[in-house]
C-alpha cells in the first residue's frame, strides 16, 4: 500500500500524517481500519522506564604523556568503568556502583549513586571526575590520571544499551509475609501491591508485535536524541505465548539500541535508585511505525485492554526460577488502580511512566512533522516467531577436579 520511501517523500514535502500510538486508537474506532490506514502514515510510540542493561562508552582523548587505561582501572565520579579495551576507551554500565557503596549490607540498601547517575550528569553537560590508573608501557608511560572531564570535550560518548524496550513485562507481587525489595520496586507482604512496568498501548514492540518494521537499523528517539536499533536485545524471546491479536502475553522481544549521548538530554536519561536492589537508568525511547498496510495499522491500534500479561510472585517463584502465573491481567485493568489476585483486591503501581511515554510520542511526532526526522528501513529483521531463537536458562556444569 505505501512504502517507507513514499512516506519519507511526504515528510520532506511537509505532507506527512503522524499520530501517536494513543491517538490512533480513537481514530480507528471512529473511522475504521481501512480509512485510517489510507490517511495515517506514521504512528509514534514511546516508553520511559527503568532499563538496567544500559550503558555508555567514551573515548576520553589522549593525555600528555599517554596513559593506557586498557587493562588498568578507571572511575567516573567514583563509579568504576570497564577498561578492557585500547588505551582510552572505557565503558560505563548503568548499574555500576562506587566500591565503597554499602550495597545491601545495611538492608535495604539505598543505592543513591551509580553509573546511571553519571550518565545523566554527563548528558546534562556537568563536569565529572575521572580517575584512572595504568600499568605503564614504553608507548604509554603514564601511570595515573586525575582530571575533570566534560562530555563536549570527549571524542566519543555513545549510549549503547544491550537490552531496552521490553515487549511486555511481568506484574510483580509478593506472596510472603515480609516486604521485599526488587527491581520491580518495593513489594508489600501478602499481596500488598502489584507493580507493573510497560507503557502498554504506547510501548513500541507491543504496537509492532511481529517486528514487521522494527528491526536492525530502525531509527528511533533515544534519550532525547537520535538513535538506532543496533541488534535484538539480550534475552530476546519472540516465541512466548501470544494472544489472537498477535500480542505476546509475557515478556518477549527486546532491543539493543545505540545513539550519540552528546545529543541526549538529562530529562530522558534519568539515574534512579531502586531501594534494596540497585541503581538503574530510566531511558526514554520513541519508535515510529510506518503504516505500510492495514495490518500494520491493526497492530498499531491495539489498546491497553487488548494487551495481557502475567502476575508473578517475586518472593519465592521468581528468585528460584519457578514458573507459573498467578493470573493474567490486561493493562486497562492494571491502570484502573486495582486488580484481583487470588480473590484479593490489590492496588497497582506502575514503574514505567505513561505521561512520559505520551510526551516522547508527541515529541517524535513533532520531529517527523517538521521534517527533522526521516524514517529508516530496517537493514535486517529481528529474530521472529518461529525462528527458533529463544531465551534459555543457564545450565550449570560441574567443574571437574584435575587428578594429581
Amino acid at each position: 500500500m505505501k512504502t517507507v520511501k513514499e512516506i519519507n517523500d511526504k515528510i520532506k514535502k511537509g505532507e506527512v500524517v503522524v499520530v501517536t500510538a494513543e491517538e490512533v486508537i480513537d481514530l480507528v474506532q471512529k473511522k475504521g481500519v481501512k480509512k485510517v490506514a489510507q490517511e495515517v502514515d506514521v504512528v509514534t510510540c514511546g516508553t520511559f522506564g527503568p532499563m538496567c542493561s544500559s550503558g555508555a562508552w567514551f573515548n576520553i582523548g589522549h593525555s600528555k604523556p599517554r596513559i593506557k587505561i586498557g587493562g588498568g582501572t578507571c572511575k567516573l565520579n567514583d563509579v568504576p568503568c570497564y577498561t578492557g579495551f585500547a588505551a582510552v576507551d572505557i565503558y560505563l554500565g548503568a548499574t555500576a556502583l562506587p566500591d565503597d557503596d554499602p550495597r545491601n549490607k545495611v538492608y535495604p540498601g539505598e543505592f543513591k549513586y551509580g553509573g546511571a547517575h553519571v550518565i545523566q550528569e554527563l548528558a546534562a553537560g556537568e563536569n565529572v571526575r575521572l580517575e584512572a590508573a595504568g600499568y605503564g608501557t614504553d608507548c604509554y608511560p603514564r601511570r595515573k590520571l586525575d582530571t575533570l572531564i566534560n562530555i563536549k570535550d570527549l571524542n566519543e560518548a555513545v549510549l549503547f544499551d544491550i537490552r531496552n524496550c521490553y515487549q511486555n513485562y511481568n506484574v510483580a507481587v509478593n506472596l510472603s509475609d515480609k516486604p521485599i525489595y526488587t527491581y520491580m520496586g518495593m513489594l508489600k507482604p501478602n499481596l500488598g501491591n502489584a507493580n507493573y512496568c510497560s507503557a502498554g498501548q504506547f510501548s513500541p514492540l507491543l504496537k509492532d508485535p511481529y517486528y514487521r518494521t522494527i528491526g536492525i537499523g530502525t531509527k528511533i528517539f533515544l534519550g532525547g536524541g537520535i538513535g538506532y536499533v543496533a541488534w535484538q536485545g539480550t534475552q530476546h524471546n519472540p516465541s512466548v505465548p501470544r494472544k489472537e491479536n498477535g500480542i505476546p502475553s509475557a515478556p518477549a522481544g527486546t532491543l539493543a539500541v545505540i545513539g550519540d549521548l552528546k545529543q541526549m538530554k538529562p530529562q530522558w536519561l534519568v539515574g534512579s535508585s531502586m531501594l534494596g536492589y540497585g541503581v538503574t537508568l530510566i531511558v526514554g525511547i520513541g519508535v515510529p511505525i510506518p503504516i505500510l498496510d492495514e495490518e500494520a495499522l491493526q497492530y498499531a491500534a491495539a489498546q491497553d485492554k487488548d494487551i495481557y500479561t502475567q502476575v508473578v510472585d517475586y518472593s519465592v517463584n521468581y528468585p528460584n526460577c519457578v514458573g507459573g502465573s498467578l493470573g493474567e491481567v490486561n493493562y486497562d485493568e492494571l491502570r484502573s488502580g486495582k486488580i484481583i489476585i487470588q480473590g484479593k483486591e490489590v492496588p497497582t503501581g506502575s514503574l514505567s511512566s505513561y505521561p512520559k511515554a505520551r510526551e516522547i510520542s508527541e515529541e517524535l511526532k513533532g520531529w517527523i512533522r517538521k521534517g527533522d526526522f526521516l524514517l529508516s528501513e530496517a537493514v535486517a529483521p529481528l529474530p521472529k516467531v518461529g525462528s527458533g531463537y529463544s531465551f534459555k536458562m543457564l545450565k550449570e556444569k560441574p567443574i571437574l577436579k584435575k587428578k594429581e
Binding site: F48, G49, P50, P108, E110, K112, G185, M186, K188, G192, N193, A194, N195, V270, G271, S272, S273, M274, L275, T280, I282, R335, G337, V346, P347, T348, G349, S350, L351, S352, S353, Y354, P355, K356, R358
Partner: protein
C-alpha cells in the same frame, strides 16, 4: 469541630515535659501521634493529628506556642520535586493514606499533601528520589 495535622518542634528545655497531656486535660482536644522523635540537636519533633472544638483547638495551639513550641502545618514537610518526578506511579500503592492519586485523564500522579502523614515510605522507594522531606 476541627482536625488538623501539625508538626510540633520542641526546644531542648521542653523535651521532657508532658505538654501534649495538657492539650487533653485543659483543652479537651483529641490527638493521634503519627510520629515522634528527638533529633541529634535534641530538639523534639512530633507529628500530631489534633482535633476538637474550634475554640479549644485555637486555645490549645496558643498554649503550645506560649510554651515555646513551634508549630508548622504538615503539608510543608513532605514535598515533591516536580522536576525530578517522572509521574511513573510506583508510589501510589505504597502510600498508606492514599495521598497519591493517578489522574484518570492525564495519567499524572497527583500528590495530595493534606492527606500526607509524613510516614516517609515514599521517600526511598521513589526511583528518581523526587519526594523530599524538609523538617
Amino acid at each position: 469541630m476541627v482536625s488538623k495535622r501539625i508538626v510540633l518542634h520542641f526546644p531542648h528545655r521542653l523535651v521532657n515535659q508532658p505538654i501534649v497531656y495538657k492539650l487533653v486535660e485543659e483543652y479537651d482536644l483529641q490527638f493521634n501521634i503519627l510520629k515522634a522523635f528527638v533529633t541529634p540537636e535534641e530538639e523534639g519533633l512530633m507529628v500530631l493529628e489534633l482535633g476538637g472544638k474550634r475554640e479549644n483547638f485555637d486555645k490549645g495551639v496558643e498554649y503550645l506556642q506560649s510554651c515555646g513550641v513551634k508549630i508548622q502545618p504538615l503539608s510543608h514537610d513532605v514535598v515533591r520535586n516536580e522536576t525530578k518526578c517522572t509521574n511513573c506511579g510506583v508510589c501510589v500503592p505504597i502510600c498508606p493514606t492514599e495521598a497519591f492519586v493517578v489522574d484518570k485523564k492525564t495519567r499524572k500522579v497527583i500528590f495530595n499533601d493534606k492527606k500526607c502523614i509524613a510516614c516517609e515510605l515514599c521517600i526511598k522507594i521513589c526511583p528518581p528520589r523526587a519526594m523530599e522531606v524538609h523538617f
